[in-house]
C-alpha cells in the first residue's frame, strides 16, 4: 500500500539514546535522494501542508521529522541551532542515508542552513523557506512577540504570523488550516519546554559571526539552493532572504506577493511547480 501524508505511519529511530519520531513515504523508485523537512518554531509533523508534502512525494521519498524533545520525539529539547542541525544530521545517518535534499522552514530553515554548512556532503539540494542567516535582520513585528508564544496558537494567530492581509490570503489560510487538520492521528503539540528552548536557540542565532562581514560564512555553501519568502514576512524579515541569495553562490530567490512567512502554504501549487523545476534542474 502506498502511503500519503494522512496515512504514513509514525516511526521512531534512536539517536544518542533518544527516540526521534519520523514519517517516511513517497516515490522510492525515482532515483532521487529523499527530502528531509525541518519544521518551524514548536511545529511538529502535522504542521506541514499535506498538499505540499504529497506533491513533493510524487518525485521522491519525503521524510518528516521531529527534532529532539519536539512534539512526539523524546529527549531534552535543544537550545542551540547548531545542536539541532547536528541532531538532524545524526538522524539522517541513523536511517542509513548517504545524501538528502533538505527543506527547512523558519526555525527549521536556520537548522537546514547550519546542517548544510556543518555537514556539506550530506546535502544535495537545499530549500530555505521563510528563514534567514545567522546575524540577519532581527526586526520582527512587535505583535509577533506576544502572538507566537500563545500556549495553543489558533487560526487567527497563524493567519497573522504566516499569511498575507488580503481576503484572498485569508481564504488560502483557511484552506491550509483545513488541510493540515485532515489527518486523524495528529502528532501531539510540543511542550512549553520545547518552545522556551527554541526561543533561546533563536536568540543565540541572532549575533553576527563577523561584525564587518556577517554573511561571509554563507559563501562556502555552494549547494543549489532555493530561497522562498513572502513579500512581507512579519517574523523573519524578508530582506534576510535577499541577504542569503546575495551570498550563496548557487541560490535563486523567489518572493511571492501578498503573503508573509509561509508563502508555500498560501500558494501551494505555485510552490510545487517552482520546487519541481528546481529539484529537476
Amino acid at each position: 500500500m502506498s502511503h500519503t501524508h494522512l496515512t504514513a505511519v509514525t516511526r521512531f529511530v534512536e539517536v544518542d539514546g533518544d527516540k526521534f519520531a519520523y514519517r517516511r513515504w513517497g516515490n522510492a523508485a525515482s532515483g532521487q535522494p529523499p527530502m528531509l523537512f525541518l519544521q518551524h518554531f514548536r511545529g511538529g509533523m502535522d504542521n506541514w501542508d499535506p498538499l505540499m508534502t504529497d506533491g513533493l512525494a510524487e518525485g521522491r521519498e519525503v521524510i518528516l521529522y521531529n527534532g529532539r524533545g519536539v512534539a512526539s520525539s523524546g529527549g531534552k529539547p535543544r537550545t542551540r541551532i547548531e545542536d539541532m542541525a547536528d541532531d538532524a544530521a545524526a538522524f539522517v545517518r541513523a536511517l542509513g542515508l548517504q545524501q538528502i535534499d533538505l527543506l527547512g522552514f523558519s526555525l527549521g530553515g536556520f537548522q537546514a542552513l547550519d546542517l548544510t554548512w556543518r555537514h556539506p556532503t550530506l546535502v544535495r539540494k537545499l530549500m530555505l523557506l521563510g528563514t534567514g542567516p545567522r546575524g540577519g535582520n532581527p526586526d520582527m513585528e512587535q505583535r509577533v512577540l506576544t502572538t507566537a508564544v500563545h500556549p495553543v496558537p489558533d487560526f487567527e494567530d497563524f493567519l497573522y504570523l504566516f499569511f498575507g492581509r488580503s481576503a484572498q490570503a485569508e481564504q488560502a489560510a483557511k484552506a491550509f488550516w483545513e488541510r493540515r487538520h485532515q489527518r486523524k492521528d495528529q502528532d501531539p503539540p510540543s511542550s512549553q519546554e520545547a518552545g522556551i528552548a527554541q526561543i533561546e536557540a533563536n536568540v543565540l542565532y541572532l549575533p553576527r559571526l563577523s561584525e564587518d562581514d556577517p554573511f561571509a560564512y554563507l559563501r562556502d555553501i555552494r549547494h543549489p539552493t532555493f530561497i522562498l519568502n513572502g513579500v512581507n514576512d512579519v517574523m523573519i524579515p524578508t530582506i534576510n532572504s535577499f541577504y542569503m541569495a546575495r551570498n550563496m553562490p548557487n541560490a535563486q530567490l523567489f518572493i511571492y506577493p501578498d503573503t508573509g512567512h509561509a508563502a508555500q502554504f498560501q500558494y501551494p501549487q505555485r510552490f510545487l511547480r517552482h520546487a519541481a523545476q528546481f529539484l529537476s534542474e
Binding site: 512587535q142 512577540l145 506576544t146 508564544v149 518552545g195 533561546e200 536568540v203 549575533p207 553576527r208
Partner: protein
C-alpha cells in the same frame, strides 16, 4: 559601577513613565506579572517586579526571578544598556558573551518588546519604503 547602578534604577523609572504616558505600552503590559533581574557576574544588580500595570524595582537580587540578564562587568552592562542602537548592542553582547541570559526566554522576548517602547521611532530610509 555607580553609572550602572543608576541606569538600572532609571530603567524602571523610564518604563513606568512610558506605561503611564503611552496607551499602547500600557496595553502591552496588560495583566502581566513578571519578576526579572539585571546583574553583573560579581553579583551586583537590581530586580524588577511588573504587576498591576506598574513596574517597581529593588536593589539586590531575587530568588524568584523568571529571567536574569547577567553582564560580565558593570562597565559592559552600562555600555550595552545605554547604547543608541539598543537592539543591536544587546545582540552583540549576546554574541560576545558580555551578556548571558538565563531563565524563561519567552519572558525575555516579551521584555524585549516592552523596552522597544523606550526607543525613538524608527526612521525609514527612502529605499526601505514599501507598500505595507
Amino acid at each position: 559601577m555607580l553609572q550602572f547602578k543608576f541606569l538600572l534604577w532609571a530603567l524602571a523609572q523610564m518604563l513606568q513613565r512610558k506605561i503611564k504616558s503611552n496607551a499602547d505600552c500600557a496595553h502591552y503590559v496588560g495583566a502581566k506579572r513578571l519578576v526579572f533581574q539585571i546583574r553583573t557576574a560579581s553579583g551586583v544588580g537590581r530586580h524588577y517586579v511588573i504587576e498591576n500595570r506598574a513596574i517597581r524595582s529593588f536593589a539586590g537580587l531575587s530568588p524568584n526571578a523568571q529571567f536574569t540578564l547577567s553582564f560580565t562587568s558593570a562597565a559592559k552592562g552600562f555600555s550595552i544598556l545605554s547604547a543608541k542602537d539598543a537592539q543591536a548592542a544587546f545582540i552583540r553582547g549576546v554574541g560576545s558573551k558580555d551578556l548571558t541570559i538565563s531563565g524563561d526566554f519567552r519572558e525575555v522576548m516579551w521584555f524585549q518588546g516592552l523596552t522597544a517602547f523606550l526607543q525613538p521611532p524608527k526612521i525609514v530610509s527612502p529605499y526601505d519604503r514599501t507598500a505595507f
